[in-house]
Amino acid sequence: MNAVVAKVLGFLVGDAQADRVVPPAGFTVRLTLFTSAAMAFLMVFALALSLASGRLAATWSSELDRGATLRLSAPPEQMAAQTAVAMAVLQTTPGVATARLLSADEQRALLAPWFGPDLPLEDLPVPQLIEITETGAGFDAAGLRLRLAAEVPGAVLDDHARWRKPLVRAAGALRALGWVSILLIGAASAAMITLAANAALAANAQVIEVLRLVGATDGYIAQAFVRRFTLRALAGAAAGVVAGLIAVLLLPSAGAEATFLTGLGFRGWHWLLPLLIAPILGAVAYWATGVAARKTLEGLT
């Protein structure tokens, strides 16, 4: 472990002499710096989007996952008996986690938008509602309906599927979209940084040639370039991540609408994710420059 640390430190500190052989400025610097910065910036956004839509999807599915409702209509005198039968049926149905009678107050709250809060619920032939939550596997709605039809004819099962499924699916699609975009931007970043490293190396062909001619070993030359470009990519990416985080923090300040979209931004340990971007892009630059340097060198005698 210590050896690895020493190696990484040695790499970062570098050989001051070897460093000078790589031109310090010019368009290749700007290219590498800006490419890493811009792609890191976009990746922060894509990450924020993915995480936000992930949270959105989670909220939707949990809020809508209330399961199903059983509506029981029966003459007032049979109500209690039928309710007991229905509960028994539900409790023996595989896939039903809990079944709960809604209290009169709860029913009144649900109906309030239609009749106002002063509804005389007792005087109305209001059906009894039973709230069902499913287990992860869910229950067989068609089977349950058959059993209920046989034992509790006045019961109607409303499994909310019509309302819930599309929403959950939509949230899932949004989350998938977020991850697809992060994958795409990540792939584009890697490709772009690879290309920038290649461009920078091609632009420095004369430097490599001169070094080779005066007796520098391949390792020395590759190391000088790899170090320089990795550090540049790291610096650019770090700047991009910082800019991205600032932008993400500034963006949704517009609103309290966070309630629904749960806001663009990072929560809890998610803050650690954008911090991975710079090291990852740095690693890509490290690898790409190494490969490009070795390829360029092999073209030289």
Binding site: Q17, R20, V210, L211
Partner: protein, 225 residues
């Protein structure tokens, strides 16, 4: 030091050089002449391992070039100082650092070299331009810087390709004197040139053999020079 045995080379068309055999002994002094395009530069490239012969064998310091790894070649270049015909530099480093580059990449630049370097630069007339960047040099100054770079490491062999093409007669004499002094210290020297008066001038100071590339062969030029 450098041995060529029955070497031939072709860039893809017909053979440019054929049946070339030569042994560069330590302390020898050679001139290489031949018309433009005859293959002088190609021959020198064979001698420092930049080209692999298409036939025959080249040995550098006893090793077969075909069997040498890339790092072996790099290391052998620290023992062979080369003045290239198209001298190239690191354009972002001043002349002094460019001249010291072979020491830098060998990890061997020490304090005592600074004095050496100063003396060398003043000998080739570049003291005043030591801090200039290579693109700011005149043609002749570039060639002199290239020669300084080739000898700074005090290599065993010095191969110079037209080192005086852009340099006036007096400065050429100074450079020649430098090479002759190095040769006296036991270094092997080979100079490709088309300047016959340079060869004549050298002959009065040192026992030089003159090689000539003609008809794809390497010939020993007669005493007519």
């Amino acid at each position: 030091m450098i041995e060529l045995e029955n070497v031939a080379y072709s860039y893809g068309g017909g053979e440019l050089l054929s049946e070339i055999s030569l042994k560069l002994a330590p302390g020898s002094f050679h001139f290489l002449t031949g018309p433009s395009g005859a293959g002088k530069t190609t021959f020198l490239k064979l001698c420092y391992g930049a080209l692999i012969p298409t036939a025959g064998d080249v040995h550098l310091f006893g090793q077969d070039v075909r069997a040498m790894t890339r790092d072996d070649i790099a290391l052998s270049r620290r023992r062979i100082g080369v003045v290239h015909q198209d001298c190239r530099f690191l354009d972002h480093l001043p002349v002094a650092e460019n001249v010291a580059l072979p020491l830098t990449v060998a990890g061997a630049d020490r304090l005592e070299d600074v004095a050496n370097m100063k003396e060398l630069l003043s000998w080739v007339g570049l003291s005043r331009r030591a801090d200039a960047l290579p693109p700011e040099l005149s043609g002749g100054e570039r060639q002199r810087a290239a020669l300084a770079r080739a000898v700074i490491q005090s290599p065993d062999v010095i191969l110079a390709d037209e080192p005086t093409g852009n340099i006036d007669w007096e400065m050429s004499q100074r450079l020649l004197t430098l090479l002759i002094e190095l040769n006296r210290m036991g270094k092997t020297v080979m100079i490709a040139t088309h300047d016959l008066s340079l060869i004549r001038a050298a002959k009065s100071h040192v026992q030089a053999r003159v090689l000539r590339i003609a008809n794809r062969r390497l010939q020993l030029a007669g005493a007519d020079l």
